[in-house]
């Protein structure tokens, strides 16, 4: 069981939770469990052909999975998965 951190902009699609526990031995499996629990998240994380969107970065603990084994990266109990989308705010008119 890994804990997936849900960033603020996506919480509205995850029952307003800040973190969700997900099952799976890889990043891909855990994310798949996440979108099964919260189907509205799917289109925000995946493209229509099922690929992770390029502006969604996924980290296991403090490492970017793009530099590990991507979605095949292993996760073990107690690992933290973070979804880090781009945010642009600054001036906020």
């Amino acid at each position: 069981m890994a804990k997936i951190h849900i960033p603020t902009p996506l919480r509205q699609y995850a029952g307003k939770q800040t973190a969700v526990d997900a099952k799976g031995s890889t990043v891909g499996a855990a994310l798949s469990d996440l979108v099964t629990q919260h189907p509205e998240l799917r289109r925000h994380l995946y493209t229509e052909d099922g690929k992770l969107r390029s502006f969604v970065n996924v980290y296991v603990n403090d490492e970017d999975v793009r530099y590990l084994q991507k979605e095949a990266t292993a996760v073990k109990d107690g690992d933290t998965i973070s979804i880090v989308p781009s945010i642009a705010g600054g001036c906020c008119r």
């Binding site: 502006f55 403090d62 945010i87 705010g89 600054g90």
Partner: protein, 390 residues
């Protein structure tokens, strides 16, 4: 630490008044006379004098950064004052540039403030950046974020980055020679509409203070050449949980901007790159839009109109038209509460979310759906001046 910013302290000497002013810096070995002279010789360009730019410019100015450039073309409005602390109530309606420059000068008359009243663009960014040592990105939109990044990479200027949403922030230092750039982290922007803007999502007033001060800290460390800068690290700030987390960033060898074989060798059209134009057209005008005057006339006449409010419940508490409340995000699962035989006018705060709601309803088979142009704020402006705007 590898020096990323080369500043010659010899070019700036301090007067006795300045020595007294910077006393608490001068007695610290990490700054000292040489460091303070470096600060005075340094030139930092702040992009935006808004939420992030306010604390950033105030602290850099107070610390004695000799040349502060500010790029902004906006005027101060009442909704800025909750967080843009460089501006005061009396400044509402003034140019942010003038308001900011006045505050900075009153804090530190030794500053050289350079005002650029312009929208940063692919045409002016490179020339502008060349005249500075560090660029601090306090902008509020994706096209400018990518523009600042690419221009920093092309001119080899570090990009002290900060970004905020609601109560969450990000900070890093991008585009140094050894470190990653913004595109290494995010090669592409999200499609328009998928990530809500601050004007839609709101922002905790203190958050740009936290993040802007982190940016100022990083800029000063780069100038002094001291400490461990946020190069190759993304700091995530959660003000609600008061948690600071750090993620590793790597320089992507295939990065189109700073990789081994860059494909971005000049600045591009960033509005197009981020798909903003398409979004504006979709939201701005549509034949199914209804103006607030028409809605008022028809409601007064007793027409059977169902007013659908697609904002959030906490917004309804600020002001409402007595409409039926279904937040946009809940609309798909609550659509069965609506009667498709009735004429529906959807509204939100400014017309963006209700345009999406109207579009969704039409696709779901509703025939008589209008979007209230300008939202409830237009109603407050043009129909009921007693209604609060937000």
């Amino acid at each position: 630490m590898a020096t990323t910013v080369e500043i010659d302290p010899q070019v700036a000497t301090l007067s006795n008044d300045e020595i007294l002013r910077y006393s608490r810096h001068l007695i610290m070995p990490e700054v000292g006379m040489e460091g303070q002279q470096k600060l005075k010789a340094a030139r930092v360009l702040c992009i935006g004098a808004g939420g992030l730019g306010s604390p950033l410019a105030l602290y850099l100015g107070a610390a004695g950064v000799g040349t502060l450039g500010i790029v902004d073309f906006d005027v101060v409005d009442y909704t800025n004052l909750q967080r843009q602390i460089i501006h005061s109530t009396a400044d509402v309606g003034r140019k942010k540039l003038d308001s900011a420059a006045e505050k900075l000068k009153s804090i530190n008359p030794f500053l050289n403030i350079r005002k650029f009243e312009t929208r940063l663009s692919s045409e002016n960014a490179l020339e502008l950046f060349k005249e500075f040592d560090i660029v601090a990105d306090g902008t509020d939109n994706f096209p400018t974020r990518y523009l600042v990044n690419d221009a920093c990479v092309l001119t080899k200027k570090p990009n002290v980055y900060g970004s905020i949403f609601r109560f969450e922030g990000q900070a890093s230092v991008f585009a140094t020679e050894e470190g990653p750039c913004y595109r290494c982290l995010y090669p592409e922007p999200p499609p328009p509409g998928l990530v809500p803007s601050c004007a839609e999502g709101g922002v905790l007033g203190i958050l740009p203070g936290l993040v802007g001060v982190i940016q100022a800290t990083e800029a000063i460390k780069l100038i002094l050449g001291k400490g461990d800068p946020l190069i190759g690290r993304l700091l995530l700030i959660d003000a609600l949980g008061m948690k600071f987390r750090e993620l590793k960033l790597r320089k992507n060898p295939d990065c189109p901007a700073c990789g081994k074989h860059p494909t971005i060798t000049r600045l591009i059209d960033y509005e197009q790159f981020c798909g903003i134009r398409g979004e504006e057209q979709a939201v701005e005008t549509s034949s199914a839009d209804m103006q607030v005057e028409e809605l008022k006339r028809r409601l007064d006449r007793g027409d059977d109109i169902f007013v659908l409010d697609v904002r959030e419940p906490h917004e309804y508490q600020i002001s409402n038209l007595g409409g039926y409340l279904i937040p946009l995000g809940d609309l798909p699962k609550r659509v069965n509460e609506l009667d498709s035989s009735r004429e529906i006018v959807a509204h939100c705060k400014m017309g963006g979310r209700s345009a999406k709601a109207a579009d969704f309803l039409r696709k779901a088979g509703f025939k008589k759906v209008h979007n209230l142009a300008g939202g409830i704020n237009a109603w407050a402006d043009r129909i009921d001046p007693k209604m609060p705007k937000y």
